[in-house]
Amino acid sequence: MKPRLVLLDANVIIEAFRIGVWDRLVARVEVIVARSVFEDESVHWFVPATGERKYIDLARYASEKKVRVVDGSIASYAGIRKRLPRSLALHTGELESLAWLTESDEPACFCTADRAAVRAAVFLDLSERLVSLEVLLEDHAVARSAGGKLRPQFLERLLKDWRTQAQIEKLQAGH
């Protein structure tokens, strides 16, 4: 069975397309996307060499069972929304992903490149399951094409910093 990976938003998908690893990634891990993420945005990426905008047909990947679409319950959604500090604003899709992670019995890690989402994960005690795209690709031996350099927010180093800062903030807030 393939390891499960929840993508909190489309940023990681766009980056995976940008560096040319998406198809190899979905072959190695079971990629899970919350329905609000899946339905809400028409996702595009830019070809680095030409700047050409290309559409990502997530529906095709879902129909080929390369991407699994899940629904978080509204009770779980409301629960995590109450637990998050007011100084944090996430998209409904990200919150639904976190709601699914909180309530699901299926073991899964998740990936994001968003500082606000990392803060949310720490406040919800989910940060142990958080993985950077950099580490994810290494752990699953997904080879990057030549020149496929990840941008800083997808690197482990920055993710670690964000996590540490959020943990300090959580402690200071008395959570």
């Binding site: 009770a75 604003a89 500082r115």
Partner: protein, 382 residues
């Protein structure tokens, strides 16, 4: 245990929101994209659990937040929006909905950034009773807001930065000329970004009068639809706007440096209006109030083809921000700050700015902001 009450309460709120809009269950089912028109019946009766993705679609249709449908925030009564020359009803309703959504988003961003404006009030205690009092009030506000001798230049930033008025510039087309609103988000003004900057300044000054006298004049006495006879309060707002943008002292000082008004050609009116960043019409009417021009001459002039031709030189000011995104520079700046500090996610930022996730960097560059990770580099944490 908790699951059922949450879903039941949501079902009740969805039903209430639908009824408030006067929509049938079938219409909602169609608008939200349910294949089975009975889905809304089942959801509202609690027989079918609503999914988060569906709740998001309901929220957009009903123009509410997901949080309000979940009962996590108060369902504020619809704020009153006062229009100037309200136009076609459907267009005005759509523009109003966008305006109010923007004001609420703006208030959320201010809260996230910890930058709620200081409570400096524009509100006036006593209402002006005559047009002359409205003139004096305009002069007084021009001084109070420290707008200097060319008030139009600094009016918008003073309103937003000193008085916390939320500014929104929309393509109003047939919806109306401008509008103002008050709600839990504070005070706000909507301007038509299709208008020249001089007209926008005048509209902002006009709406400032309504915000200042919000509790003094009942809404029904204030507004008139496009084509209707202007209300007395609206005329007062025009007098206030003219006096605010063209203070007597500054205007007279400028007039002293020019040939007597009696010798003027149409071009002189237009160039003076340019100097003060107001429209030529506004200048003519202010000169009527200050008794440099008779009302009859003003009417004749405004109708004459020569004046209309001279007025064509009222080109748009190239120094002004020509983007018509609706958002004010302060709003985008605060949202960028929240994004860089991890208070708002990139996806929510894209949603607020009406841009696609993949276009966020380009959007920010267009407003003069660099990559979000720059904040990390500066603080030495990267």
């Amino acid at each position: 245990m908790e699951k059922e009450p949450v879903e039941k309460a949501v079902a009740t709120r969805l039903r209430r929101a639908r009824l408030q809009l006067g929509m049938t269950q079938q219409e909602v089912a169609h608008a939200v994209g349910f294949k089975n028109p009975q889905s809304v019946v089942y959801i509202e009766s609690g027989r079918q659990a609503v999914k988060v993705s569906e709740l998001l679609r309901f929220a957009r249709l009903f123009d509410r937040s997901v949080d309000s449908l979940l009962g996590l925030e108060n369902d504020e009564a619809a704020p009153v929006v006062l229009w100037r020359d309200r136009g076609e009803a459907a267009a005005a309703r759509a523009a109003e909905a966008q305006f109010i959504r923007y004001c609420r988003d703006y208030a959320q961003i201010e809260e996230l950034a910890g930058r709620r404006p200081a409570p400096v009030s524009l509100t006036r205690r006593a209402k002006p009773a005559t047009y002359e009092e409205a003139d004096r009030m305009g002069e007084e506000y021009s001084q109070m807001m420290k707008l200097g001798s060319r008030p139009a230049i600094g009016l918008l930033s003073a309103l937003e930065e000193q008085y916390g008025v939320k500014l929104y510039a929309a393509r109003l087309e047939g919806a109306g000329s401008a509008a103002s609103a008050k709600g839990s988000f504070g005070a706000a003004i909507m301007l038509n970004c299709m208008n020249a900057p001089a007209r926008r300044s005048y509209d902002a000054a006009h709406e400032t009068f309504h915000l200042a006298t919000w509790d003094l004049f009942p809404a029904e006495r204030v507004r008139c639809a496009s084509g209707e006879r202007r209300s007395r309060v609206d005329t007062m707002a025009n007098r206030f706007a003219s006096a605010l943008l063209l203070p007597e002292k500054a205007l007279k000082a400028e007039l002293r440096s020019r040939a007597p008004v009696s010798d003027w050609s149409y071009v002189d009116y237009v160039t003076l209006a340019h100097e003060f960043r107001v429209s030529a019409e506004a200048m003519v009417w202010r000169l009527v109030v200050l008794e440099y021009v008779s009302e009859a001459d003003a009417r004749r002039m405004l109708r004459s083809p020569g004046f209309c031709a001279a007025k064509q030189t009222e080109a748009r000011d190239t120094n002004e921000d020509e983007r018509c995104t609706g958002y004010s520079r302060r709003f985008v700046g605060l949202a960028f700050e929240c994004l860089a500090k991890g208070r708002i996610s990139r996806t929510r930022f894209a949603e607020l700015m009406g841009t696609r996730l993949c276009d966020v960097d380009e959007f920010l560059a267009g407003w003069g902001y660099g990559t979000v990770e720059a904040d990390e580099t500066q603080t030495g944490t990267a």
